[in-house]
Amino acid sequence: MQAEPLIEASGLAVGYGGEAAISGVSFALRPGETMALLGPNGGGKTTLLRALLGELSPLAGTLRVGARCASVPQTERSQLDYPVSALDVAAMGALSRLPWWRRPGRRDREIAADSLRQVGLDGLADETFGKLSGGQRQRVLIARSLVQDARILLLDEPFSGLDRPSSERLEALVGSLAAEGRGVMVATHDLEQAQRWDSVLCLNRDQIAVGPPQRALDVDVLEATYGGAIVELPGSGRRAVLPPHHHHHPH
């Protein structure tokens, strides 16, 4: 008997101005499950994440999100110059739990400090957010989602720009958070890493495939997902996706 899914989507279509950007999306994310969200730029990854966060309403199909969702976005340049410490950012998570007129109290600051400890940043709580490294910033944002008390974590390309040790530390953290019963969805371009998550969801305006990576990922699926921008690595038989050079959010 499996646990009740945290997210259940069935025949979901979402878009902007009444026009569907993605359609036919059906999947379930269960507690403890890590899911890679694969797809080309403009394929609808961000659209799906925004639907899960409640920013966009379904145009068709059903979407049930059964727990609090927290997003871990990519760091934007404007944030590097923001007058906030790591602890300030983590404490912002409390705002999603409180009514809008309530200001976070001392207890919420303690929770934020605990969360920073949990992601291994206890020594950097008072450092300015923009002064942290890319991996440290990702972990601050994850700490913030812990303060939000979210059971669903949505990570938008958290590994891009990270060096190998940072990347491995982040991956281990994601694994341990999932082990505590959270559902984690990671939008990524890293096909090799995606093979290590519990499941993958391939999206290119339509849902191409969903399931455990060993079963779901084959050459046909990847070709449909990435539109042929895929190469076979000589000798090894491993598949690789040509990395896109620019990242555009569909708007």
Partner: protein
């Protein structure tokens, strides 16, 4: 330096700017953080046509400004796509607002509004309503910051964090812009529409260089607005510059000092701050060299150049004359400056010309906190001609009474008696001086009459810039045929129809000369002259004496010069009242 702050109008400005420092400093940080700097600058400028409209149509200025700012804010919010193109939309609307305001102010409402004051502010116009508005903006900003500050911070950091139940980012932005509009309107009188940004943004940006935490940033911003505002106000009084401009300069200097201080070696922040404050203080002290005292002489204010001349003739070395209008300035469109008010502060007597020519003098005296007696000389002169019944400067009598020397005699006698009452110790001196001067006035009158009457009456046809010479013409038998500006005030405008009628009259009446006035632009007079074949070579002194060294530097030489110019014009240069130069 500190006496400046004892003047009532400076104190009002001071209170205004100190209250404004709260909303300006706080909103400045939010504006910078939310990336709305250009937008909020535009909100201030957008208020400008609203101000002009309110002024022209006669409803409350803050209402017009606030409405215009809100219409602009809503308009741009609707226009902008959430990311790109916003700046372009703002810039377009901004340019449109500025242009509309200037056109409305100069063409539609004519003299009703002074563009410089609306754009750069005026300390003299701050009143209780402005202070109340500033207090309201301060309270609203404090309440909103307490309730919404963390949401503004969060939304600026990461809009995606908001769940569906959180305040909508658009609502947050709208509240912020609404507050900016309110605080902008409260600040308009003192800093003007164009430089509101200096009060809101520059201190916030400067403070940002010194701290990387929100709370200290906000405290420092509020403190900087207060400091730079006070220094700027003081500087504006001392230099007679509009307060908006001086505050902007001080704020800009503060930013440069801090930025340069940081670029030159990574000094500790406190040291940089101390340097900046020190530099601002030095800037203040350095300009503090103000005029000394007058050695116990009676302080007298004269509004116009001719009255200043009378007062100096009668008072001699016993009085100190503070003359508000300088040579060749036009009294009709004069706006008093802070130094006029500080000059009036120590005065015992104020001599005014009256008849709505210098009606601003009452405001100057009350703003100075002085209890000086205002002597209206126009009210006691014997020869009176009717004034205009309509227009901006309608008055019962034509205000240019001094062009009849008999009126000048009466004015001089009145000045003598007023001085004798104020300073009885010098009564004999005043009597002696006045007696000698009255003799010269009578000789002047007789001399002009003799010279003008040497011209056949039908040649004495006068066309001038505006109707300033009614008394002169009346006294010496000159016929006034027309004026380029057909009004006793220079504030009226001549229409194309008026001008073509004037040209016809000039040709029909065989007028040989048109006389431009020294304090007005000669362009229109010259254009009509060249169209009709009349000359425009002889300039008259209408509303003002000429500068030192000119032939119109004193009342006596001015009237003589006018008579000479007219006679030369009437006789095609054949004859004059003086030997030709």
């Amino acid at each position: 330096m500190l006496e400046t702050f004892q003047l009532p109008f400076v104190q009002r400005g001071l209170i205004e700017i100190l209250i404004l420092s709260v909303p300006a400093g706080l909103l400045g940080t939010w504006i910078v953080m939310r990336g709305l700097a250009f937008f909020s600058h535009a909100v201030g400028t957008a208020a400008f046509p609203g101000l002009v409209l309110a002024d022209g149509l006669g409803f409350a200025a803050p209402l017009g400004a606030f409405a215009a700012a809100l219409v602009f804010a809503v308009g741009v919010s609707v226009l902008r796509g959430r990311r790109s193109g916003q700046d372009t939309a703002v810039a377009l609307v901004l340019a449109g607002c500025l242009a509309a305001g200037v056109i409305l102010a100069s063409d539609v409402f004519g003299s009703g509004s002074n563009i410089e004051t609306l754009l750069f502010g005026s300390l003299l116009l701050v009143d209780g309503g402005d202070i109340g508005l500033a207090a309201a903006a301060a309270v609203a900003t404090l309440v909103a910051s307490a309730l919404l500050g963390r949401h503004w911070l969060r939304a600026g950091f990461d809009p995606g964090l908001a769940g569906p139940a959180r305040p909508d980012p658009r609502v947050l932005d709208a509240v912020l812009i609404g507050l900016v509009a309110l605080a902008t309107v409260a600040a308009l009188t003192v800093v003007g529409a164009l430089l509101v940004t200096a009060l809101f943004l520059v201190p916030a940006v400067t403070a940002r260089l010194l701290t990387s935490r929100l709370r200290s940033w906000q405290l420092l911003s509020v403190g900087l607005v207060a400091l730079e505002g006070v220094v700027g106000l003081w500087l504006s009084v001392e230099t007679d510059a509009p307060p908006g401009a001086t505050i902007a300069c001080v704020a800009g200097a503060g930013f440069i000092v801090v930025a340069a201080g940081q670029a030159v070696g990574r000094l500790p922040r406190l040291a940089v701050l101390a340097t900046a404050l020190g530099a601002l203080a030095l800037l203040g002290v350095g300009c503090a060299a103000t005029g000394g005292n007058d050695g116990g002489r009676l302080d007298v204010v004269a509004t116009t150049t001719q009255i200043g001349d009378f007062a100096r003739e009668v008072g001699g070395s016993a009085i100190e004359v503070d003359q508000i209008l300088q040579p060749n300035t036009d009294p009709h469109d004069y706006e008093p400056r802070p130094s006029d008010v500080s000059g009036a502060a120590g005065a015992s007597l104020v001599f005014a010309s009256g008849d709505n020519l210098d009606s601003w003098v009452g405001q100057v005296v009350s703003d100075s906190g002085s209890d000086a007696e205002v002597v209206d000389l126009g009210a006691i002169v014997p020869e009176r001609l009717p004034g205009e019944s309509t227009g901006a400067e309608a008055s019962r009598f034509d205000p240019h009474w001094w062009h009849d020397p008999r009126n000048a005699e009466a004015a001089v006698k009145k000045i003598e008696s007023a001085l004798a009452v104020a300073d009885p110790a010098h009564k004999a001196l005043f009597e002696r001086n006045a007696g000698a001067y009255l003799g010269k006035l009578r000789a002047l009158d007789a001399g002009i009459a003799k010279c003008v009457h040497s011209v056949p009456p039908k040649q004495r046809k006068l066309v001038t810039d505006h109707d300033a010479f009614g008394y002169f013409a009346n006294r010496y038998g000159i016929e006034i045929v027309g004026a380029v500006i057909p009004s006793q005030t220079t504030q009226a405008q001549a229409s194309a129809k008026d001008l073509s009628e004037l040209a016809e009259t000039i040709e029909r009446e065989h007028v040989t000369a048109i006389f431009p006035e020294s304090s007005l632009s000669p362009k229109v007079a010259e254009a009509i002259a060249s169209q009709t074949g009349a000359s425009a070579d002889h300039t008259l002194y209408g509303d003002s004496l000429g500068p030192q060294g000119s032939d119109g530097a004193t009342y006596l030489s001015m009237e003589e010069a006018n008579a000479n110019a007219m006679v030369r014009g009437f006789t095609d240069g054949q004859r004059g009242c003086r030997p030709s130069p």
